[in-house]
Amino acid sequence: MTTMTTTDPLDTDLLRQVHAGRADAFTALYRRHQGPLYRYALMRCGSSDTAADVVQEAFMGLLTGRLRFDPLRGQLQHFLFGVARKLILKVEESRGRHVALPDAGEDDGVKLELPCEDAEPLGRLLGNEAAEEVRRALALLAPHYRDVLILFELHELSYLEIAAVCQVDIGTVRSRLSRGRAALAKRLQGHAPAARPACLAN
């Protein structure tokens, strides 16, 4: 995993150098952000190939200038999460598996039923059985719950940052997170009690 030190150049500086034709700056920027972006995409769509495509497409957008990053509106990492999310939605839409996201108001009335319930189980991605079970349970959640859970629990984004990435208000993030967690807990309890990971058996 790439960690950033205080001596590392800022993303905005690297981006400026990238647009000036500095290949080393592009490499540094890519290596800094590819990991979290890939992991987000992997968790979000459940396919390593699609996740790799999403990462490539996002960086291609930065490279060609098709994507305009405004540093005043947040961090590059969160901007890339937003781009990846939209790309994944586009992929899902093209596959005809798109689930319409409810409005903020709808969240209050939405039941805990899982819109992806009948989705095919995804192939195994992780070696650890307990982690894989959490991932599968997460993958079967509705995309709008999955987004906030992944960003909050795995990438440690704040409500405000998640709201910016998902382009919803902060109250919606809060409610989606709460409902998503409840749905996840329910799925983990009810899915395969015998195979429940020991870490979750409290």
């Binding site: 995993m1 290949a23 490499t27 790799a52 490279l63 982690a131 959490v134 629990e153 870490c199």
Partner: protein, 162 residues
């Protein structure tokens, strides 16, 4: 962040595990390679001035320059001219020629000069100014050479010149 962090979270251990497991997952290397190729297409590297010629072309150009320099140096270098100390005294009189190979003073001062006779091809005497034409090139000329006591040739007299 979540308000309920102070209460035990049943999902937290699972997320910790998932996070640890995911830590080793990075984008496949081929993506970086493809992106770098796209970068090269987007920002084609400008060739440096020396990149406009290939290596063999540079070799040929270098050889040409070297030859030019050598030619210029040769042209500018002071030549060691070969100078003849003096024009031999020569006189042609009625079919005979006398050519002094040394100064007249030296010839007169020679106490023990002797005369050596020989038939010399006319072509060998052309450098001394003896007239030469295709008709008489095969002829020989009677040469009488005056030689000093030390064997040094002093003068030549040529007879039967046409």
């Amino acid at each position: 962040m979540m308000d309920t962090k102070d209460t035990p979270d049943p999902l937290a251990p699972g997320f910790v595990l998932l996070k640890q497991e995911l830590a080793g997952h990075d984008t496949p290397r081929c993506v970086e390679k493809e992106l770098m190729q796209a970068f090269q297409r987007q920002f084609p590297r400008r060739r440096p001035w020396y990149g406009f010629l290939t290596l063999p072309q540079w070799g040929a150009a270098g050889a040409l320059c070297s030859l030019t320099v050598v030619a210029v140096l040769l042209a500018l270098s002071p030549h060691q001219s070969i100078e003849v100390s003096g024009q031999p005294l020569a006189g042609i009189d009625g079919g005979a020629a006398f050519i002094a190979l040394d100064s007249l003073e030296r010839i007169e001062a020679e106490p023990d000069a002797r005369l050596v006779e020989a038939d010399v091809p006319r072509t060998a005497l052309a450098a001394l100014g003896v007239p030469l034409s295709p008709d008489n090139a095969a002829d020989t000329v009677r040469a009488e050479m005056l030689v000093g006591a030390d064997g040094q040739p002093l003068a030549v007299r040529l007879s039967f010149l046409q």
